[in-house]
């Protein structure tokens, strides 16, 4: 615990350094202190995960609701490990990233503060500590999001959405936790946990739904996701990586901590609701990701998709635990937490790589990129690794966790409860469809963005980014490969977190070893051996090709101009764009995406039979936002206008209001 606290203090010192140091050393000073602090929290959390011990830190409470109450247990430690690794990678990356853009004091100071909040939330063990850390996390990320608002007005819009959604969510969480604290007579999580089973089911269900709304909005689950594609796309890339890789995780953390921990698991329908939200998020996120041609928006929607998969696992675990299948519950929860860990690695890497692309070309619109593999080979390679991981191709980490999730759902069919079985079937369907759609989305991102010919001068003159930025990405690409090849090494460790998360001792769902092997159930894969087989097959195929080529006219491959269908040259204009690539799927999912088309034709002045120019615009915005949120906003605005009539700025009127209110209160009390 002490190591953790020192680490936290160092991160906070980084925040001070970022604010107070002179402009030249500000960025590197904050990054250095921040990453050392993260490394210390990482060690402390890893130790907790390994030995399974819980440690407590508590300041004396003189007044009610004061005092800090921290508790480091294996469940929270898993989230700290994930955040700390991301923190080190993004801090490293940030050094090179800030070289070109002059960062303000607020921005460099706020980044470590945000990091500190991210590692503080999972150890907060009382309502006040938790809510302060939670709100500080929201405030710092809000300010970071606003940092570039002068150069990019869209950031303002994104920040507004984010602030509204996150405050709405925090209010819901606060009400839920306060109800629990009031009943328990203490704000400490440990006491709440003892008293919560005494509450009536109606109250518990209301509390669960309230915190679910709050945490799901932070996790970006449909339909509370509207802020996420904006915020994650508009924030600076290191911040996007932290938001997508670490902050959304805390939404999942909250659902498990309160639902399974404080409320003790509850009833079946709670978890079926969670599973349904997961299915909706996975499908909606995947479909939107396929259709979007803005690289960071695509990544943001894919975050919604992956969070959906995690929620499917969490929901299945809760439902199976409530129907008495403890082993299966542990398996599903393990799959969910493993996928969450993997998602942090590949999505962090992808966001950082997207930031590098934006840094080098000034755009993140895939339709304006192309051919970057020649100009930025390292970034392209790392983006490629992370893309293959997120597409769940063997032997990368996304494959391992999706396999585990599939096993969790498959074995879950042992349940006799038919509604649960139907929900699990929906989960498998969502897993399968998102698997295919994610592959399509990332073939698009990688193929259109990095392969082919450059589509704009900016793309053709791009340059590779600074070594510190590359090393930040490498740090996140390593787990993508390692966790994919030897998942069996980390899973027993993660399963400690699973037990604490589910609240109790659960049977081991996986055996230790290099590969993945379920215990008590049939199912195993050995990614190391599969990789070896794949490599030897590759070498064999390569050998055959070399042998064959040696006998042919010339051994070496000759590079020639591509056949341009008889035309002399092949211009980038003839290439497929991201929009055209997504067109078939966009047509299939037209009811979900509801794109708006607009064609503007201007004719030549002399004759209407000849077109001078055709302008075609295709816009795909968030259909849920348009049909659910826009009417709500209009409604709120209408009420706001009515309320404005009462507020005319006259002090006399306000005094009169005060007097009337007092009289009404007295009358009511009398």
């Amino acid at each position: 615990m002490h190591l953790y606290l020192y680490g936290l203090a160092l991160i906070l010192a980084g925040a001070l350094a970022g604010t107070l140091l002179p402009a030249r050393s500000r960025v590197s000073g904050a990054a250095l202190l921040g990453s050392i602090g993260c490394a210390m929290t990482l060690i402390a959390a890893t130790r907790t995960l390994l030995d399974g011990q819980t440690s407590v830190y508590q300041t004396s409470t003189v007044l009610p609701f004061t005092g800090v109450h921290l508790l480091l247990d294996p469940f929270g430690a898993l989230f700290i490990v994930v955040t700390a690794v991301l923190g080190i990678a993004t801090s490293l990356y940030g050094v090179g990233y800030a070289r070109k853009i002059q960062k303000s004091r607020i921005e460099t100071g706020m980044f470590p503060l945000f990091l500190a909040c991210l590692v503080l939330v999972p150890v907060a063990a009382s309502v006040v500590t938790f809510m302060v850390a939670w709100e500080l996390m929201a405030a710092t990320s809000f300010l970071l999001l606003l940092a570039e608002h002068r150069s990019r007005p869209e950031a303002r819009d994104a920040a507004q959405w984010y602030a509204a959604m996150t405050q709405f969510g925090a209010a819901a969480i606060l009400i839920g936790l306060v109800v629990l604290a009031a009943h328990a007579g203490s704000q400490s999580f440990a006491v709440i946990r003892l008293h919560a089973p005494g509450l009536s089911l109606g109250v518990r269900s209301t509390v669960f739904l309230l915190v679910l709304i709050g945490f799901a909005s932070k996790a970006g689950a449909v339909p509370l996701h509207v802020w996420l594609p904006r915020a994650h796309a508009e924030a600076a890339s290191p911040v996007s990586a932290l938001m997508s890789g670490a902050m959304v995780n805390l939404g999942i953390y909250g659902i498990i901590r309160v639902g399974n921990g404080l409320l003790g698991g509850g009833v079946l329908w709670w978890w079926l609701v969670v599973l349904a939200i997961g299915v909706a998020s996975a499908l909606y996120g995947a479909v939107q990701a396929v259709a979007s041609s803005d690289l960071k928006r695509l990544l943001a929607f894919s975050t919604i998709d992956n969070i959906g998969l995690v929620l499917i696992g969490v929901g299945a675990a809760g439902a199976l635990a409530d129907t008495g299948h403890r082993l299966l519950a542990a398996l599903a929860m393990l799959a969910a937490l493993f996928h969450l860990t993997n998602h942090a690695a590949f999505k962090g890497c992808l966001f950082l790589a997207a930031g590098s692309v934006q840094h080098a070309t000034g755009t993140r619109d895939l339709d304006h990129l192309g051919g970057l593999v020649r100009r930025m080979p390292a970034t392209a390679f790392l983006f490629g690794i992370a893309s293959l991981s997120i597409s769940a191709l063997p032997p990368f980490n996304g494959f391992a966790s999706e396999w585990l999730l599939f096993q969790g759902l498959l074995h879950g069919f042992a349940t006799k409860n038919s509604i649960t079985a139907v929900a699990l079937l929906a989960g498998v369907g969502a897993l399968a469809l998102t698997g295919g759609l994610t592959a399509a989305a990332f073939v698009k991102a990688l193929g259109i963005g990095f392969l082919g010919q450059p589509r704009t001068p900016e793309a053709s003159t791009a340059h590779e980014v600074a070594p510190s930025m590359i090393s930040g990405m490498v740090l996140l690409a390593i787990p993508c490969v390692v966790l994919g090849i030897i998942p069996g090494v980390v899973l027993p460790v993660i399963s400690r977190a699973t037990d604490v998360g589910l609240g109790g001792t659960f049977p081991r769902s996986v055996q230790s070893g290099l590969g993945l092997r379920l215990s008590g159930l049939s199912g195993m894969i050995e990614p190391v051996l599969l990789l070896l087989a794949l490599l030897s097959a590759l070498i064999l195929a390569w050998g055959v090709l070399q042998l064959v080529a040696r006998h042919s006219a010339r051994g070496q491959a000759r590079s020639v101009e591509a056949w341009g269908s008889g035309r002399a040259l092949l211009t980038p204009k003839m290439e497929y764009t991201a929009t055209s690539f997504a067109e078939p799927l966009q047509r299939v999912f037209v009811d979900v995406l509801r794109p708006s088309h607009d064609a503007e034709v201007t004719h030549v002045a002399e004759s209407r039979y000849f077109e001078h120019e055709i302008n075609y615009r295709l816009q795909i915005d968030d259909a849920i936002e348009r049909s659910w949120y826009r009417p709500l906003i209009r409604y709120v605005m209408a009420w706001g206008n009515i309320a404005r009539r009462v507020q005319n700025g006259s002090t006399h009127r306000y005094l009169a209001f005060g007097f009337i209110a007092l009289v009404v209160i007295l009358v009511v009390l009398a």
Partner: protein, 323 residues
């Protein structure tokens, strides 16, 4: 039943896997030739000999390697990865023997994603050349692949729930032990769903036409348009292996009779002969479907695949109700 740890067992398993690989590498192109032949005969033509795909491969092997100047390393690796990924799938699946090497890892989920690996790398290679046709093929192939995925995985789920495992050797052994399962309604439904997926994944009519080069309709051919010489040969071999493997997989899952449960040469030979017979029957059936239907418009294909998905879901539900 599952590969034993002893060295001799491992050697036998590797031998059996290599045998499977050789059978499919030779058998896949022959199946393709057979399908062309059947079609030609049905249309009253004589048609090329059945071994024509193998002759094509030999012809391509003798040609010069030419790459477009816009291509990157992806273009070079793709043919190799396509062949390698499908080769691993063939080696670990119990096609001729019930105990191939790595049989413990021969999970249906692994097989699906090994196939997806080949598809993804082909789609990337299509985009890598920077031509209009390549992008068009990639876009269509990924769209069809993404929609075939749910039907494929849910159909496999239907088969796995029954055995409580998605491990292929276990499914095959269980099916061998219960000959009456063949008439199970959920298996019949899953069979039809899987057949639709196989037609989509191998690019046959009504989803894609392997013999067309018309830009309005081509999918797979557009994607590989920039390949030539030995590398085109590898891509074609990969495609033939995928076709042979998927037909063999369908035979495996639904009619596994005759798969050798030990490494007795006579049993293995019987396994090969029966595998050949079963895949020939499936190939004939698919060709008959091809002859009797017109190619669907590209934007009608999702309806077919959704139909496959619905059948797969029905298969799971039927299985759960019957339990």
């Amino acid at each position: 039943m599952i590969a034993s740890a002893s060295t001799s067992g491992l050697g036998a398993a590797i031998g059996a896997s290599l045998l499977q690989l050789v059978v499919v590498v030779l058998g896949g192109p022959l199946l393709m030739g057979l399908m062309v032949k059947i079609r030609a005969r049905a249309e009253g033509r004589k048609g090329p000999p059945i071994r024509q795909p193998l002759l094509d491969l030999r012809k391509l092997a003798g040609k010069e390697r030419i790459h477009s100047e816009h291509t990157s390393v992806v273009f070079v690796i793709t043919p190799l990865l396509l062949v390698a990924s499908i080769a691993v799938a063939i080696a670990i699946t119990p096609l001729v023997t019930t105990s191939p090497v790595l049989g413990r890892s021969a999970d249906l989920f692994v097989i699906v994603f090994l196939i997806l690996t080949g598809s993804v790398s082909l789609a990337l290679a299509g985009l890598d050349s920077g031509t209009a046709f390549g992008g068009m093929g990639s876009s269509r192939a990924m769209a069809i692949g993404a929609l075939a995925e749910p039907a494929l995985l849910v159909a496999m789920l239907a088969l796995s729930i029954q055995v409580r495992s998605s491990n292929l050797p276990e499914i095959v052994s269980a099916t061998l032990a219960h000959p009456d399962w063949i008439a199970n309604p959920e298996r019949l439904l899953a069979f039809v769903a899987l057949l639709i997926v196989v037609i989509a994944e191998t690019g046959r009519i009504p989803v894609d036409n392997p013999s067309t080069h018309l830009e309005l309709t081509m999918v797979h051919e557009a994607m590989i348009l920039e390949y030539s010489g030995p590398e085109l040969g590898l891509v074609m071999l990969g495609q033939a292996m995928r076709l042979g493997f998927l037909f063999a997989l369908v035979a495996d899952l639904f009619f596994p009779w005759g798969i050798a449960s030990n490494s007795n040469p006579a049993r293995l030979l019987l396994g090969i002969v029966l595998l050949g017979t079963k895949t020939t029957i499936i190939a004939t059936g698919v060709t008959l479907i091809e002859i009797s239907t017109a190619k669907l418009r590209l934007f009608r294909v999702p309806e077919l695949l959704t139909g496959g998905f619905v059948l797969a879901v029905l298969a799971v539900v039927t299985g759960l109700v019957a339990r």
